[in-house]
Symmetry: C2
Subunit: 379 residues, 2 copies
C-alpha cells in the first residue's frame, strides 16, 4: 500500500467535493442551468481577482491566456518589456517573438530579487513600450516579484499595460487588480483554484480594453472581445470545458467561505513552515524572495536534486517537482497553494527527511518536522 | 422528480465509469504514471483515426484544433476552398479570414447534398489552392458530407491538403485517414468520445507535415510541430487537461472493446430509428443526406422549433438542440452518437410525442415509438 500526496506547484490537490461535483452527469452549455453557474462564477472571479471588470474564462492551459495577453493587446512591431528570470518569464519572451513583438528582456539571474527600479529605468530608456510582462510568482524558481510596486510605476505610463502572469499567484496572495493598477491578470485552474488543468483566466482592465481596439495581431480561438460579449450573456464563444466550470463554481465557493484574507494567511504560514523545516535540516532556500506558493530548496552538496525529487515521489509517495532547465538537479520544489493544509507540510518535511537519510545526507532526524510543527501551531 | 436525458450533439452523455475515473485524485503530468496513460491513448487514437501517424492532443475546444489546421499549414495570402453549408463551415471561413487566408467559399444551401464534383471544379478553376476545408458532419444541419469522395479528388492535387472537421464524425462513422487520404482530421472530446468538452484532436498526414514546414502564420499555444515533439515523448507542450486525458484512456478502451465497426453500426441504426420514428409522426427530416451523428427534424407547420426544443428540455427532461442562426425556430435536433443506446432513442421519440401533443400537433400517439422499437429490434 502506498498513499500518494500531491504537493507539486500544479496540478495541485482537488477537494473531494469538487471532484464529485465534476463527476455528476454533464449538463449542456447552451442552457439556463449552465448560465446560472456562469453567472455565479463571474461574480466570484471578480472577487478573487479584485476587479469590477469581467474575468474571462478560456478552455485552455494557462499559456493560452498568456498568449491572448499578447495577441489581443499588441500589434506586430510593438515593443514590450519582459522580465526573464525563469522558465515562465522566458515564455513571455517566446510568445512575443512568435507574434512579431519586440521583447526588451530584463534578464535577472534565476531566483534573484527583482528591483522595480529596473522596470522604471527600462521604461524611460525605451519610449513607446506597449506592455510590461511579468510573473506574480516565477514558478520555476519559487520567487515572488514585487507586483504592487511595478504596477505603481507602470500606472504612470498611459501607453503601457501592466500584465501579470498570476497563474501561481491568484488565490495565493493578494493581487487586487483595480487597487494596484494591474491591467491584465492571468490565472489557471490547476493551482490555487484547486481544479484540474484545462481552464485559464484573464482579468482585463478598462485601459487594456482600449488597447484591444487597436491590436492588429490575428486571433480567433483566443479572441478576447468576442469572449467578453459572450460572457456578459453567461456564455462562452466556443463550447467550454463544462465539467471544469462546474468544479470552478465549487472551488470558488470554498475560497469565498474561507475568505481571501484567510486563504492568503494560510499559504503564507504553510510556506514559512516549509522553509523553516527545510532550513532546520541544514538545507538552503533557492529564492532570495520566496513565494508563499512554492518553495524551491537547494539539493545539499553532493546530492542530485533529481534524485531527491524522484525518491520523494517513488519511495515516499510525495509528488513535488524537480528543477527545470538550468536548475535541473540543483533544486527540488514543494508547493503550499490551493487545497493544502498543515498536515501536508508536515508530510512533505517528513518525506524530505526520509529521502535525505536514504541519500546519505547527515542531519538530525526529526529536526525538520519539529520545526515545522512549531511554525504551524497557530494555524 | 425529473430525470434528465442528454441527447444533444455535444456535449453527450459520459459513461459513469469514465466520470468516476476522472474523479480519482489527480496525478502529475511530468511523471511516468501519466506518460503510461499518454502512451496507451496515442495507440488507441491512431486506431480510431485510422492512421499510422500521431494524433495530436490539445487542451481546448474543438475549434482550437480547427484554428491550428489553418495556422500550422498555410501562410497569409494563401487560398483555400471552404464548404459553407452550415454554422461550422462558416467557422472554417471565419478562421481563414482571421489569419489572412483567402477563402474560396462553396456556398451550398444548408442541409443540401454536397456534390464532390463541385470541389473538383473549384480546384480546377483556382490553381494554387492550398487546402480544402470541410466537415464530416455539418452539426448545425445534421448533414453528412462525402468525405471519401472529396478526399479521392484532393489526393490528385499534390499542393492541396484535404482537411476534415470530424468533430461530429470521428467515432460515429468510418473516416480512415490513411486509407482515404485525409490530411488533417480534427476531433473533439465531447462527441463520440464520451467525454466532457476540453480536448481537441488532430490526425496529421505526412503530406500535411510537409506543409507545416513552410507555414508562416504565427502560432504559439497551437504549435503543432512542438506538440508532436512532446507527444513522441508521451508528453504535451503545455500542462494538459490531465483529468480529461485520464477519462480519454477509459473511453478509448470502451470504443476498442466494442470495436469500431460495431460502434459505427450502432450509430447508424440509432439514427435511422430516430428518423423513422419522427417520420411515423408525420415529421420531416431536414437534411437531404442525414448524418448518423445527429438528426435535424423540421418543426411541423405552425409550431415553433424553439418551443419544441424548450418543451423537450423543460417539461420532458430531454436535452436536444434547437436550430442555429437561419434555422432557429425551424428545426430541432437529437443526437445518436457516443454513449447512446436504443433506449435513448425510444426515450427521445417518446418525448417528442409528449411535446408535440402539448403543442397541439395532430398525430397518432405511440406511432413514433412503435416505429422506433421496430427499427431497433436487431440492435
Amino acid at each position: 500500500m502506498q498513499k500518494r500526496y500531491l504537493l507539486a506547484p500544479g496540478p495541485t490537490q482537488i477537494p473531494p467535493e469538487v471532484l464529485l461535483k465534476m463527476a455528476e452527469p454533464i449538463i449542456h452549455h447552451r442552457n439556463p442551468m449552465f448560465e446560472t453557474v456562469v453567472e455565479e462564477v463571474r461574480e466570484n472571479l471578480k472577487y478573487l481577482f479584485g476587479t469590477k471588470n469581467e474575468v474571462l474564462i478560456f478552455s485552455s492551459s494557462g499559456t493560452g491566456a498568456m498568449e491572448g495577453a499578447v495577441t489581443n493587446m499588441l500589434s506586430p512591431g510593438d515593443k514590450a518589456i519582459v522580465v526573464r528570470s525563469g522558465k515562465f518569464g522566458e515564455r513571455w519572451a517566446n510568445i512575443c517573438k512568435a507574434y512579431g513583438v519586440e521583447a526588451i528582456n530584463i534578464d535577472l539571474p534565476w531566483g534573484d530579487v527583482l528591483d522595480p527600479g529596473v522596470i522604471e529605468k527600462a521604461l524611460k530608456e525605451n519610449p513607446g513600450v506597449k506592455a510590461v510582462y511579468t510573473q506574480a510568482t516565477e514558478t520555476s524558481t519559487g520567487t515572488r516579484f514585487p507586483t504592487k510596486e511595478i504596477a505603481a510605476i507602470v500606472k504612470n505610463y498611459p501607453d503601457t499595460l501592466m500584465v501579470v502572469d498570476g497563474i501561481t499567484g491568484v488565490g495565493v496572495f493578494a493581487l487586487p487588480m483595480d487597487e494596484w493598477g494591474i491591467d491584465i491578470l492571468v490565472g489557471g485552474s490547476q493551482k490555487a483554484l484547486m481544479l484540474p488543468p484545462g481552464l485559464a483566466f484573464a482579468g482585463v482592465s478598462d485601459k487594456a480594453w482600449e488597447f484591444n481596439k487597436n491590436s492588429k495581431i490575428p486571433k480567433f480561438y483566443f479572441n478576447w472581445a468576442k469572449e467578453l460579449d459572450n460572457l456578459k450573456k453567461n456564455q462562452t464563444n466556443f463550447t467550454p470545458a463544462i465539467s471544469l466550470i462546474i468544479g470552478l463554481r465549487e472551488s470558488l465557493k470554498m475560497i469565498k467561505e474561507e475568505g481571501l484574507e484567510n486563504v492568503y494567511k494560510r499559504s503564507e504560514i504553510l510556506a514559512n513552515a516549509t522553509r523553516e523545516g527545510a532550513m532546520a535540516l541544514g538545507l538552503k532556500i533557492f529564492s532570495r524572495n520566496p513565494s508563499p506558493a512554492v518553495t524551491a530548496i537547494y539539493a545539499p552538496e553532493g546530492i542530485d536534486g533529481q534524485a531527491i525529487y524522484k525518491t520523494l515521489w517513488k519511495k515516499y509517495g510525495v509528488t513535488g517537482a524537480g528543477g527545470q532547465d538550468q536548475l535541473k538537479g540543483k533544486i527540488f520544489r514543494l508547493a503550499t497553494l490551493g487545497y493544502a493544509d498543515k498536515y501536508d507540510v508536515i508530510t512533505a518535511v517528513a518525506a524530505i527527511e526520509f529521502t535525505l537519510k536514504d541519500l546519505g545526507y547527515k542531519f538530525q532526524m526529526g529536526a525538520g518536522v519539529a520545526k515545522a510543527v512549531d511554525c504551524l501551531k497557530d494555524l
